[in-house]
Symmetry: C2
Subunit: 257 residues, 2 copies
């Protein structure tokens, strides 16, 4: 059996994934959105605690403000905009009502479990959406200004924004983006560092330059290793101080000196 | 159009998700595993940096040691065991080879972007696996002992374990686990705290008691709110000190006093 024979509609759609940033001016029908949220509901969740939530952004002004944080104007035009969040607030309330132990609900282990759950839920929604012919773009850029975003969404203590997701009917057909060979990303039993990545990634670097990036049509895209240099050359921003904002939201970092 | 009509093979499989902990003694064919890893490769990744990786555990002794960390003996018997990791090491190496700026590669914004990517990749693999009739169980419990796990997998600096995933052909048919209504988890524009969760979740609490948990067949399962009380009553463990281990792995927490 060839790898290419291990295929079905689900995997076909997954292998065909592209980021879609331009959407038709067409709303997602309520019954489609409801089904996407039902898929979100059925996503695996750490110890059954369901400690993540979704803020659906329907307010135009708010959408614009989030677009500003993301520094991506197309976010303001997205038919659907969902913000996935860490949510230990609901369980905190339940503990309060049941006179349970409130000492650990703000622990970083719970934070990371919630953060993980939120991401799993987001990808489950993406797979469902793409299987229905919808396009999606993840917005990690919502974390450019975490304090501001928490304020805009009126996020209470024990919650924190994880990831944004815009969804709509695609109005562009991007090329499949080249990715490096999985031999550099999948290891057996122990991590493997290669001796010379520039040599190893030479073909990939070349392949990347054939990629036509719809975001900036005015210039040829850099090779991957140059993209890495550019990406990490940026001076540290308030993005790096994310843990301070997590602490502002009530979590106990428990960092030892 | 009814919600129930918004359906296809992908969504059907997603709505049918159950955690599978017992697998047939049957290996996953190489071409199936390769296809799952190809799906992993095609997963969305923050700014194209591909800064997450997978450690595939094939060594029996190592599998047993990870099962001990998880305190789940079935992990030792899983046909496939994958550990998804934050991986800024590869890009660090590329930066070194290119004389790029090494100051920010250890920043927590990059850490969280990688962590997110690792989770998205894991859920993409889960959806592909389940669409092929495979069963899966996430193992957040690999983080019971993060220092020990980093050592066992020989994880270098700028890497960190995120989530374990066991995959195999199901040897059990668990009941669909009840989940709370999404009105408690999806909000419009701003977070909503309900006045009385015990009253709100009354029906869900009852429904949960009809759930037959295959993990502990000797007793009836607690209602959800009691599960929350039990889950958070546990004293703080070394799990909570996860940030200290993340710092040990070379990341700069940038926590201000």
């Amino acid at each position: 059996m060839e790898q290419s024979q291990v295929i079905n509609e689900t995997i076909k759609s997954q292998l065909d994934h592209r980021t879609i940033r331009e959407f038709k001016e067409q709303d997602i029908p309520k019954e489609v959105l409801d089904q996407l949220l039902e898929v979100a509901r059925r996503t695996a969740t750490s110890t059954g605690m369901q400690a993540c939530s979704i803020i659906r952004i329907t307010d135009k002004k708010l959408k614009g403000e989030i677009a500003s944080i993301c520094t991506q104007e197309y976010v303001a035009r997205a038919p659907e905009l969902l913000i996935f969040i860490v949510d230990q607030m609901r369980n905190y309330q339940i503990l309060e009502e049941k006179n349970g132990n409130l000492d650990n609900v703000n622990g970083m282990d719970h934070y990371f479990a919630s953060f993980t759950d939120a991401c799993l839920m987001a990808q489950n929604v993406v797979n469902a959406a793409e299987s229905l012919g919808l396009g999606t773009v993840y917005l990690g850029s919502i974390l450019n200004e975490p304090t501001n975003l928490c304020k805009l969404l009126a996020l209470p203590k024990f919650t924190f924004p994880v990831l944004g997701l815009a969804i709509g009917y695609p109005n562009q057909e991007p090329q499949l983006k080249p990715r490096m060979d999985m031999k550099y990303r999948v290891f057996e039993n122990t991590y493997k560092i290669y001796d010379n990545y520039l040599e190893e990634l030479k073909d990939y670097d070349e392949e990347m330059q054939t990629y036509y990036d719809l975001r900036d049509t005015s210039r040829r895209v850099d090779c991957f290793s140059d993209q890495v240099v550019t990406r990490y050359s940026k001076a540290a921003t308030k993005r790096q101080e994310i843990l301070n904002v997590i602490r502002d939201q009530g979590f106990d970092l428990k960092v030892k000196e």
